[in-house]
Symmetry: C2
Amino acid sequence: MGSAGVPTQGKSLYHTIRMPKGDTVFDGTADTPDDKWIKRRPEMVRLTGKHPFNSEPPLTLIKESFYTPQELLYVRTHGDTPQLDEKTHSVKVDGLVSKPLTLSVEQIKQFSKTDISMVMVCAGNRRKEQNMIKQTVGFNWGPTGCGNVIWTGCLLRDVLLHCGVDTEEARHVCFVGADKLAHDHYGTSIPMSKVMDPEGGVLLAWECNGEPLLPDHGYPIRVVMPGYIGGRAVKWLTNISVSKEQSTNYYHYRDNKVYPSHVDQQNVGPEGWWEDNTWCINDLNVNGAITNILHQQTHDISKPLKLSGYAYSGGGHRIIRPEVSIDGGKTWKMATITVEPKTQYGRTYEWSFWETEVQLTPSTEQICFRAWDDAMNVMPDRPNWTLMGMLNNSWYRIQVTKKAANTVELGLPHWAHKDAPNHPLNVLKAPHITDTLGGPTSTTTTTTTPAASASKGGAAPAVAPSVALMGGMAVTCSLAAGLLGFALAQRKTV
Amino acid sequence: MGSAGVPTQGKSLYHTIRMPKGDTVFDGTADTPDDKWIKRRPEMVRLTGKHPFNSEPPLTLIKESFYTPQELLYVRTHGDTPQLDEKTHSVKVDGLVSKPLTLSVEQIKQFSKTDISMVMVCAGNRRKEQNMIKQTVGFNWGPTGCGNVIWTGCLLRDVLLHCGVDTEEARHVCFVGADKLAHDHYGTSIPMSKVMDPEGGVLLAWECNGEPLLPDHGYPIRVVMPGYIGGRAVKWLTNISVSKEQSTNYYHYRDNKVYPSHVDQQNVGPEGWWEDNTWCINDLNVNGAITNILHQQTHDISKPLKLSGYAYSGGGHRIIRPEVSIDGGKTWKMATITVEPKTQYGRTYEWSFWETEVQLTPSTEQICFRAWDDAMNVMPDRPNWTLMGMLNNSWYRIQVTKKAANTVELGLPHWAHKDAPNHPLNVLKAPHITDTLGGPTSTTTTTTTPAASASKGGAAPAVAPSVALMGGMAVTCSLAAGLLGFALAQRKTV
């Protein structure tokens, strides 16, 4: 048990829950000269072309083990992966501290060691379902932009106390990574309260699942914190600055926000939304997916259909109620939680695995999944489109299309093309697919909150409810990656 | 601004947001000899008969001011209101502290003073809607089991540090009040992490809205904490004990839990659910209501209909999107937030006020309200029945019944009798009203999680989905109180 007081796992558990190892291979090709030195699992599904390596594991592998192998954990990166050496790397601590320090990795490892087991989640997990409604500013994520891992490191709290942090004045802790991007190094901040909470679990981590961090996951040092979106867990950490204010980093302002739905690519800039940090998100929400069903898989409805998947929530909340429906949400069957997360002091930061069985009928049109957490938050039935497509947690839906007497084909929202006749999101279309877009066929009249400045106060432009798949290279890559992942997924199908 | 670092309000704000004062009168009657000494507002709606004074304000008064007058704040009490004197009252601090102390009220007031502005919410707020589906173990609350107030006191954190709290071993802080009940004094506990978080805002409070606590709200000292359910905010505080374990108090085990829906009055005891503290709840969830519409109010649909209400969430989350729908949730209109909560470090613990206008049509059957918070948690469309009927936050629905050419009658879920033809919950009836009950007409096959012991592992009993109003005295009193409240509400109708 870690001293962080958050759910942690001793090394013994590494052996009780299987963590399959797969072959990793050097990633270099003519297209990716920058990544030639990195070993990766070839199964990883690339979402933004060959480089940078934004990727998620195929659906078939996400639930192979309760703890996700590091090389199968989703990767969100913005550019070249920094080639660092723990012998020479250091992290500078400054800002509202009485003793600013530059710490070597070895010095960081002298602090009391602790583990945190937690689900790491990209805020964009399941974004593809949002992009099918209307393109967001983000690329497509399927439902595997997440994984449950064990981080080992020291409490950032201990480091800051060692540096004489000013707990009266300080309200935010800012992080910067070694990855130099177009506008800046990647950086962001989190509230001081999260860092200083002895149970908050904010770590400077140097191990994942008992092994050194991989280059893709921030080697040699990254910051991690349970219950928060992955975007705050800065990799290749170089700077920690304690501040009265949130990070002023370009990427802190331009990423990880949830605006009202009338804010889109046209008005976000002119109306000054980027500059308004009121819309920053930190906490994860309740989410989950069915992971054992593949796109265009057929099923004999005279037999029971097994369903299984994962579910998680934010804020330390535990999943108490995974449910499936085969009648559009009129009735629900409570699934069994098969692998229970470890809870401590009533909280957990891990995912849950669940399974159940349903008997489809000739009239079954859709299979839906939703989960409730212990604060009675629940996944909503319909997606709520927002500009960055973050925290999408609407019911995970599988479309059921009759093919022959007893045979149906199952369609998944994150694999199908929007025009496919059996695309699950088609069921959500007009009128309510337009509900968040303020379009002419919708009754929505978007207004703004007083938090928004006067410049944002106008009515939303009458955007036609376009249901467009994303254009350009990213699409091609994504679809190609999708096909690769799909092929791999098919190969593994029982 | 308070040193707690949570959203706070200076005294100046007391004057900028009107807090109407009403007449209070001594409450004594032949039926309530124990309360004769207490002054109360006669408008308060009694929910469990004359005594104890479980009460909420009429719907018409809940939004009269952004800060709820103390005498209009809901009251949840289990027995006689202790008659205490701040000159002689004391609070004992013991358990995992090196310097156990008994502190007088005067000594407590020597600690650094701070304010917290927060919505105080009974976990049973809106329980009546759950009781209309199937009786819970709790009495009926309408949607006014909540209020936004400013507490003044000192940080419990400071008191515990003064007492030499053992932050390594301690994981829970237990509270006991002066109210002696059938089984024990009322008591409960909250996680140590919440108490020790400098931003956690856990106070020993002696003032509400700048005035001494009223007897109904814990005079002379109570504990309060933002973002948590009211049931943890122990009134008439006498004991604080720092512990490795949760409170062993009878009421900690028997209250404020959310069990799976197949746990009911029959199996909760025999299957050992009471003893299992896995199901304790602390955090509030996202919730809200329409407060300007009265039951059986008529409306001319040729004119626009103004709607307004409140919304709040837990975990420091801010409401970003209040919405109304007049087509059963197919499309939504975003409402305007009219009174903005104060946020600090990205968090708020206050409610938001909102308003909008809709144009009903002859085909409008229902008006629905839901809210989203900044973690993209949203109120679900349907209620999820659980034994204690807590944290009900399903869409707030108003039924629209045609009466004449242009005239409709509006029906509210918390006023109507279940058999009233226009009861909003009737729209939710079979099949899915039974979804949580495991009844024979439902497809639900309730299973259990591994967290539950083997004794709980059986299939749920086939309970017929009975939609029964609560029986016995409480009903009579509740209805009587309802009529009183309704009469008052009617009188205030514009």
